[in-house]
């Protein structure tokens, strides 16, 4: 999956890919103070046996948890399941519904997106990407966007959560890269010196089909040097 990190104080964005095997669960957000956790499980392209080589992976299943309220939300391209203690509610992507729970608001836009608000100041959006009917190798997958993070504490971490704190970086020595449209540069971040590439990634919140290009500095090697530790540190045993 591709990650886009908005850096408002720089009016710029960073981006990277995490390449892991299908089935692996990555921790995206962990806030011990509010008890909010978001994990994502990867899926890959549906490949044939003789199809070898690297394959793209995507978020195929999302787990959004509020441990303090004993709430869990499981989102897959097929359905949305809310567990509230022992009670369970299931919604389909064909539903157009707003659920006003005392501590959670769910807004499902039929076949497009889901907005989840965990009280004031913590709002996420899940975008549903449906495969093209005739596309043999592609599977349906999900996108996850942090719309509002005010309620999350300063202890928040995770592959996305760590970037909710201000991050500083400097770009030096912009020079031509292997692609004439994408210059390379040296980035100084967290006392590391990285070679980065100017490119863009897609934001699908506005246009779920075509997306909107977000210009960003791409960090290679699974964001090594940008993220705290390495990406394997964010692998967790299960979605919940």
């Amino acid at each position: 999956p591709h990650f886009i990190i908005d850096v408002p104080q720089k009016e710029d964005a960073l981006c990277f890919n995490i390449n892991e095997d299908p089935g692996v669960v990555l921790n995206l957000i962990r806030d011990p103070t509010t008890g909010i956790i978001v994990n994502g499980q990867l899926i890959g392209d549906v490949t044939t046996d003789n199809d070898a080589g690297l394959h793209n992976t995507y978020i195929g299943r999302l787990g959004i948890i509020n441990t303090q309220l004993n709430l869990t939300l499981e989102v897959t391209p097929e359905k949305i399941v809310l567990h509230n203690g022992t009670k369970q509610k299931t919604f389909m992507w064909l539903d157009e519904v707003i659920l006003l729970h005392p501590s959670l608001t769910l807004k499902i836009i039929r076949k497009k997106s889901l907005e989840v608000s965990l009280g004031e100041g913590a709002t996420f959006e899940v975008v549903l990407h449906k495969k093209w009917k005739k596309h043999l190798s592609h599977a349906d997958f999900l996108g996850f966007y942090i719309m509002d993070s005010h309620r999350l504490s300063e202890n928040t971490h995770g592959l996305l959560g760590q970037f909710l704190h201000p991050i500083d970086f400097n770009i030096l020595e912009v020079h031509p890269g292997s692609d004439p449209e994408k210059p390379d540069a040296t980035m100084i971040v967290k006392n590391n010196q990285l070679t980065v590439t100017r490119g863009w990634q897609k934001d699908y919140t506005e246009d779920t089909k075509r997306g909107t290009n977000v210009p960003c500095w791409f960090i290679h090697n699974n964001a090594e040097g940008l993220i705290d530790g390495t990406y394997t540190d964010y692998v967790v045993p299960s979605l919940f």
Binding site: I146, E206, P215
Partner: protein, 616 residues
Amino acid sequence: AADVNVDGIDIHSMKIDCKITSRFAHTIITSQAVNRANVSKEALFDVELPKTAFITNFVMTIDGVSYPGIIKEKEAAQQQYQKAVSRGQTAGLVKASGRKTEKFSVSVNIAAAKNVTFELNYEELLKRSFGKYELLIKVNPKQLVKQFEIEANIFEPQGISYLDAEASFITNDLLPVMQKSFSGKKGRVVFKPTLDQQRSCADCPTTLLNGDFVIKYDVNRETPGNIQIVNGYFVHFFAPKNITRLSKNIVFIIDVSISMSGRKLEQTKQALLKILEDIKEDDYLNFVLFGSDVHKWKDTLIQATPENLEEARRYVRDINIAGWTNLNGGLLAGIEMLNEAQRSGTLPERSASLIIMLTDGRPTKGETNTQTIIDNVRNAIQGKYPLYNLGFGYDLDYASLEKMAAENNGLARRIYEDSDSDLQLQGFYDEVANPLLTEVELKYPENAISDLTQNNFKHYYDGSEIVVAGRITDNDLNSITAEVTAHGAEDDMIFAEQADVEETTKALEEREYIFGDFIRRLWAYLTIHQLLEKRNAAKGEEKANLTAKALEMSLQYKFVTPLTSMVVTKPEDNEDKTALADKPLEAEATRQSSQSVVPSYSVPATSHRYTSVDGD
């Protein structure tokens, strides 16, 4: 003078000659260049003109042979030259360039030792704002010019009360070079720096002449209005002074969707806080914020008492981002608030109500069909108050905002994303901050007048001016009487104005200041602008009729408008090539071309940016 010559081409002279008569400005930019090289070279004519102006003529003279531009119907011109376009032989000569200007550029190959003269003509009606008319000249000659000159001659029958000129590039050394004078009806500004005075530093081959040259002036106003008549056409300028200001009821409808996050929201807050400082105690106000949902500060409009303003400031400081763009919900909530206040009679009887809406994106929540939103807004307002739409940045449907504002007696304005966006917002508010009159109607003798431009105005604001022009159909008419009715702060008002045809014609007979039928051209300019505005809001047969009329007049008066193109022929080797000069539309504007100086790895701001994980 060796360093005047850049890459073989020597710009021998550049003259910007402007004649203003009764606010109607006719500008001619002439540039002469000589190829000093012994091979053929490309000469470039690259100038900027105000967006409000219409190009009227362009002539290129190469070694004594003239190649005039020909104004044609846009579609016909494009079809005729489609072949050339498809071969890549022609490109648009005019492009939107800045906040207030568009760029006209043409280049042509000049044989060794040959010369070329470029001449561009354009016309515009100067608009009064904050009590002054402003003429903007963009100066950027690219190299030192042996004879550089700006000359503006102003003739105002009412008499000039104030005249000033300033340039963004002016230095102390250059101050004495700028000559400004006015007396009675005439004013003059001349700027004619020598070659050495143009240098960016002593012995430098580069020029410091790069920036805005602005002339500001105003006229005497002994009477509330002034009617001028020449050759069967009249113009009525109406700008009464010493009128008690009306209190106003203002609803700010502000987009707080996620795309407004960061600097845009901070600048909006700064502007609103500054506006709150300037709001008068007898004004009423409220805020409606729309993101995914719609939030009202108060349920009803409330008076701007010091306590309420303090609370408003706290509210503005706490404005936060809230999801998607529910434009329809925000607008309808704000309009309904004013409607309800009017129904319940809670607002001062004599006051001006208005709505200022600010958005930076397209509707993404609630009703998203733009035409439905436009219909909803029109049906809700029903002509009762003007709606001003401010479009922040470029990621929006500006044409729809223009259409919606035009349908509701208001206007749309683009707020450019920049460090001064907050000042742009305040500046717009200041223009409408002091309503003096409402429901202004200017009436003329029906049987003697035809082809009148707009003569009904919802509001008249302090520092502005209402302009109405028309044609006199009665050849025996000795005088015109105008009657202006309006609602003021204390009473309804009727202003009467009379002008003697013979007398006003005589008063304008100072030939050296008059460029032909200027009142007729002023009338045509104003009529075309208003037809084009109405056309934006019209549909079907009405739209077709407005288009036909605007096109006919554009061709008749030789204006390059959005409906016409000017075909420019360029001699190239053995074959003439053609290029088209079109009028760029504000609604189609993309980010300013000045941003192209930003290195390619920089970030054009996007509408929505979240920290996220997704896949292609």
